[in-house]
């Protein structure tokens, strides 16, 4: 084992290396000492100044969230100040018994009714946490009333470390009005924080949920500022740090929506909160949504309340079997019912299967025999051409027309005008697409059930029983059928403005479907829509408005045997120059013309500024 030991030369070499090593050690330490000398001697004054009289603190300056206006400049969503009573551990007394004095004083504070402001349990938790959390204040009382703030301010000299902070909270002055369109804000959830698209958000940030609040959250947020402030021993700000620029917050953009407050109000009043239903009013020339209602509604203000009340309100809406959280106007899918006959007729005319002079051999005698099946009609209408059949909404005519035209051509025509599985791409989240079954998609969807496509299914589909559409699609459909100028992407944002009121972004109308048909087809469909309303025998005559040429189509969607039908009414006016298209659905309410017709009429009257004579 001695062979491993070093000989004399090697020992000398080793010792020399140790010397070199110690040289490196001394050099490294010397550099550190020089740096210390530089910091502690040459720059002593400024460092001492900074630490002694001024202590540094990092504060986040929250950017003001943008407002939402209607198209005429009325405020739909704004911010309100909200007072938080909080514990600033930096300025609490250091000694334990002095802290207990503050604690007991807080416990004794009562409001006018003699109720304690704070309960001892949550106060104790806050004081426990204050020993560790020193960077930011700890909330004691959320969303305090002005009276409560006044009481605290009165005693402020006896309560070191207790501060009143002002936050801004969302305020929806019209309550439930357009609640599904506007959405609400809430604190960002743990799951959302983990996703990469929310990288810029921090714990405790309020984030838009649903509706415009979510769709344009990035724009509303603005950018939070940061400030390094110097605070003196009692925690009061005395200034900013020299040489370190603070970042000012950039307020979020204001959004001018396409909604019309007047129209929205009329629509909201026309649909009672006890009923399930939806209404969409859209400008078919550019896709601007003028009013959108989904019933039952929720009050977004509950999300700005105190935690306890917030949770109570949330539980109420989340557990309601009427599903008030769903925006039925964009995510409710219904069978289009007889409104779809416009599409069947349009496809027939477009492909030359139907024409004004075409009469079918079998006239409507209350039903139609197809193979072994006898399909009923809702009335007995006799022999009809396409315009009459639309006016009376005769099923027998469309059974035969549908078999002649074939489903593929009908669906192609429907997709031109916005129906189908592809959503229209409205700028708020949650939109669903519909469904247009043909032999392929039907077999695919029902593979597990073992159902196969059969030609007999065309009978039901040609009168609109079996497809799925959203109310938004229905409004888009009737609007674009009337204009024949293409389908524009429906949207709720008209323009974004910065805090000075300059327009930052404007929503340019965007063509998403061709929405074109032959002029002859267009002429016949317009005539048919016209006669539905303005002919004395039309199914939609309750939608008529004096002085305005309204076109419409009614629908009664069957959804459950024995139950009342879903009442559809899709209208557009004026027919010579369409400006507004309205689709109304009332779930399980009965016939379309009788129930939903008057609702659509009220909205259109409000749009044209015509007073209702019957009311007077």
């Amino acid at each position: 084992m001695y062979s491993h030991f070093l000989d004399n030369d090697a020992v000398q070499n080793r010792n020399w290396k140790v010397l070199v090593y110690m040289g490196v050690v001394c050099l490294a330490i010397l550099i550190l000492v020089i740096r210390l000398f530089f910091l502690q001697y040459m720059h002593y004054d400024e460092n001492f100044q900074r630490s002694e009289s001024n202590r540094l603190r990092k504060t986040v300056l929250t950017a003001e969230r943008g407002y939402i206006y209607d198209r005429n400049g009325n405020i739909l969503v704004r911010n309100r100040p909200s007072y938080q009573i909080a514990l600033q551990s930096m300025s609490l007394p250091r000694k334990k018994d002095e802290r207990m004095v503050v604690f007991n004083r807080l416990l004794q504070i009562r409001d006018q009714d003699g109720e304690r402001l704070f309960d001892s349990l949550s106060l104790d938790t806050a004081f426990q946490r204050a020993r560790w959390i020193k960077a930011h204040p700890i909330r004691l009382l959320e969303d305090a009333s002005e009276a409560q703030v006044a009481i605290i301010e009165e005693h402020s000299s006896e309560l070191p470390g207790i501060v009143t902070l002002i936050e801004s909270r969302r305020d929806y002055p019209y309550g439930t009005l357009a609640s599904h369109v506007l959405g609400y804000t809430s604190e960002i959830s743990e799951e959302q924080l983990k996703k990469p698209e929310y990288e810029e958000y921090a714990q405790g940030d309020r984030i838009g949920q649903k509706g415009l609040e979510q769709g344009y959250d990035q724009e509303f947020r603005g950018k939070n500022g940061l400030k390094l402030v110097e605070v003196n021993a009692s925690g009061k700000e005395v200034g900013t740090v020299r040489g370190v620029e603070s970042e000012a917050p950039i307020p979020g953009y204001h959004l001018v929506s396409t909604l019309d407050l007047k129209l929205q109000k009329v629509a909201e009043e026309a649909i009672p909160d006890s009923a399930k239903g939806a209404l969409v009013a859209i400008d078919p020339r550019n896709g601007e949504i003028l009013a959108m209602v989904s019933s039952p509604r929720l009050d977004p203000n509950i999300f700005s309340l105190k935690k306890r009340e917030r949770n109570k309100g949330w539980a109420q809406v989340a557990l309601d079997s009427m599903r008030p959280l769903t925006n039925r106007a964009i995510s409710g899918t219904y069978t289009p019912a007889s409104v779809f006959k416009l599409v069947t007729a349009g496809a027939g005319l477009e492909y030359g299967v139907l024409s004004v002079s075409k009469y079918y051999a079998k006239s409507c005698t209350g039903g139609y025999q197809y193979g072994a099946r006898y399909q009923k009609c809702w009335g007995t209408h006799g022999n009809l051409n396409v315009v009459h059949a639309l006016r009376l909404s005769c099923d027998v005519f469309f059974y035969q027309a549908g078999l002649d035209i074939d489903m593929a051509r009908i669906n192609e025509f429907a997709e031109r005008f916005g129906l189908g599985t592809r959503p229209l791409g409205i700028d708020i989240p949650g939109e669903k697409g519909g469904w247009l079954p043909d032999s392929v998609s039907f077999n695919n969807k029902n593979k597990r059930l073992g159902w196969r496509w059969a030609r007999g299914l065309i009978l039901n589909l040609s009168i609109g029983q079996g497809q799925l559409v959203t109310p938004l699609q229905q409004a888009t459909l009737i609007g674009s059928l009337a204009t024949n100028k293409g389908v524009y992407r429906p949207h709720l944002m008209k323009e974004l403005r910065d805090s000075q009121g300059n327009v930052v972004r404007r929503y340019e109308p965007e063509l998403i479907r061709p929405g074109k048909m032959k002029p002859e087809t267009h002429r016949v469909l317009l005539a048919a829509m016209d006669s539905v309303v303005n002919h004395p025998g039309g199914t939609g005559k309750r939608g008529a408005i004096p002085g305005i040429r309204v076109g419409a189509k009614t629908g009664s969607g069957e959804w459950k045997k024995g139950a009342k039908t879903h009442a559809w009414f899709a209208a557009v006016a004026p027919l010579e120059d369409p400006q507004i298209a309205v689709a109304v659905i009332m779930e399980a309410a009965g016939g379309g013309g009788a129930v939903s017709g008057p609702i659509a009429r009220k909205v259109m009257m409000a749009y044209f500024g015509i007073e209702d004579e019957q009311k007077k």
Partner: protein, 419 residues
């Protein structure tokens, strides 16, 4: 050499070394105490009291280590090394307790073990043992194979945790091991030169470009002098030039936000509201201490909790604020004395294992000291390396005391042979 009774005793037990160690420990406890003076926790729950417990335990362990035979240490090296690898694998794949995003602990219920600390010592023993029997040389490139293999496994496992700073400790120990196992100063220069190349070529200013040019010239000169095997000559030359250019190119390929991230890591002060916040507070604390400091317990930065991690990673700024330049210099002086006494242990004996183990232990201390202090004074990136004897923390205190134990052990157990 004479072997009188008195001399023999001083050979066997280094009194100065022990006193310096205790002084450092006492300073550490005092500083930890000063950071937690205001808290109202019962005294047996305070950081300073726990720190005393750790040190007492560590001292007992170190004293016990003195009586372990040197041959036992040698034969224990490989088993300890294997055990540490197993623990590293366990912590990586099975038992990772996630503390601040990095699973570094094995929780045994009663105590928590930090395998990377254990691995530092096990690796030091193993590499010293191997290199003491198999010197390395550039003229026999195969001699690097086994040491490199021994190094890369624990290094990769620690890096995977991810614990970059501890992984760097492994590099430092290995390089110093090579130095004392055969490589000359010029060889060391060649090994380190590519890193310098990256540093110099990163900056586009004239001075740095000039420095880089000088460096390349030096490398060429050294290569001429050493007459290394051909492929090594080409390797070092290419390594220097390529790393220089490649790093610049790689830098330009990074996205701007990635560049910013690297920049704030290298220079925290470029982001004073984010990563630079800690360093800014630390500099203010140290700088406000002045020449003589504010006195024990009077550090406003410290006591108002402006400093994050004040009792662990940033303990040196606590020292700087309360005891000023004099206090800092005194402690750094103690560290030099400590390292000098420690390294001189190996000069007494001709056993290469003792040399390597001693210098390796010194390197572990030195690396922690320099990286930690440079971080607190804003010269180096913020990493999580604690300061030996001063920072609060059980695992690391134990590591330090085991190393001290090993140093004492070698002095006591080493045998001299006339040559």
């Amino acid at each position: 050499m004479s072997s009188g009774r008195f001399l023999d005793k001083s050979l066997k037990f280094d009194f100065v070394f022990v006193v310096v160690t205790f002084l450092l420990m006492a300073t550490g406890v005092m500083l930890v105490y000063s950071t937690s003076m205001a808290s109202e926790v019962e005294f047996y729950n305070t950081f300073w009291f726990k720190q005393i417990i750790y040190f007492v335990g560590g001292t007992i362990l170190a004293l016990a280590l003195i009586f372990v035979k040197l041959d036992w240490l040698k034969s224990a090296a490989i088993p300890l090394y294997v055990a540490s690898l197993v623990m590293l694998v366990i912590v990586l794949f099975f038992a990772g307790d996630v503390v601040k995003g990095a699973g570094r602990w094995i929780d045994l219920g009663v105590i928590k073990i930090q395998p990377s600390e254990f691995a530092k010592i096990a690796y030091l023993l193993t590499i010293s043992y191997w290199l003491s029997r198999h010197p390395v040389s550039f003229f026999n490139i195969k001699s690097f194979v086994v040491p490199f293999g021994l190094f890369i496994v624990p290094f990769a496992l620690v890096l995977k945790q991810p614990d970059l700073s501890t992984a760097l400790v492994f590099i430092a120990v290995t390089l110093v091991g090579f130095f004392f196992a055969g490589l000359s100063i010029m060889d060391m220069f060649l090994i380190v030169s590519p890193v310098l190349s990256v540093l110099f070529s990163h900056n586009n200013s004239f001075i740095f470009q000039l420095l880089w040019g000088i460096l390349i010239c030096c490398v060429v000169f050294v290569l001429f002098r050493r007459r290394l095997p051909k492929f090594l000559t080409v390797f070092f030359l290419l390594a220097n030039i390529l790393t220089g250019y490649a790093s610049t190119m790689a830098w330009n390929m990074l996205e701007p936000h990635q560049q910013k991230r690297v920049n704030t890591f290298l220079d925290p002060m470029s982001d004073p509201l984010g990563d630079g916040y800690q360093v800014l507070q630390s500099l203010t604390a140290i700088g406000s201490g002045g020449l003589a400091g504010k006195g024990l317990g009077n550090g406003s930065q410290t006591n108002l909790s402006f400093l994050p991690e004040e009792h662990t990673d940033f303990i040196f700024s606590v020292l700087g604020e309360q005891f000023g330049f004099l206090g800092c210099s005194f402690v750094l002086g103690l560290f030099i004395l400590f390292l000098w006494r420690a390294s001189s242990t190996c000069k007494l004996y001709s056993d290469p294992f003792i040399t390597l183990l001693t210098m390796g232990a010194c390197t572990i201390f030195l690396f922690h000291i320099v990286v930690n202090v440079a971080m607190t004074v804003g010269l180096m990136p913020v990493t999580g390396l604690p300061l030996p004897f001063l920072s609060y923390g059980g695992s690391f205190a134990l590591t330090c005391m085991v190393l001290v134990g090993l140093l004492l052990n070698m002095r006591y157990q080493g045998r001299r042979f006339s040559v």
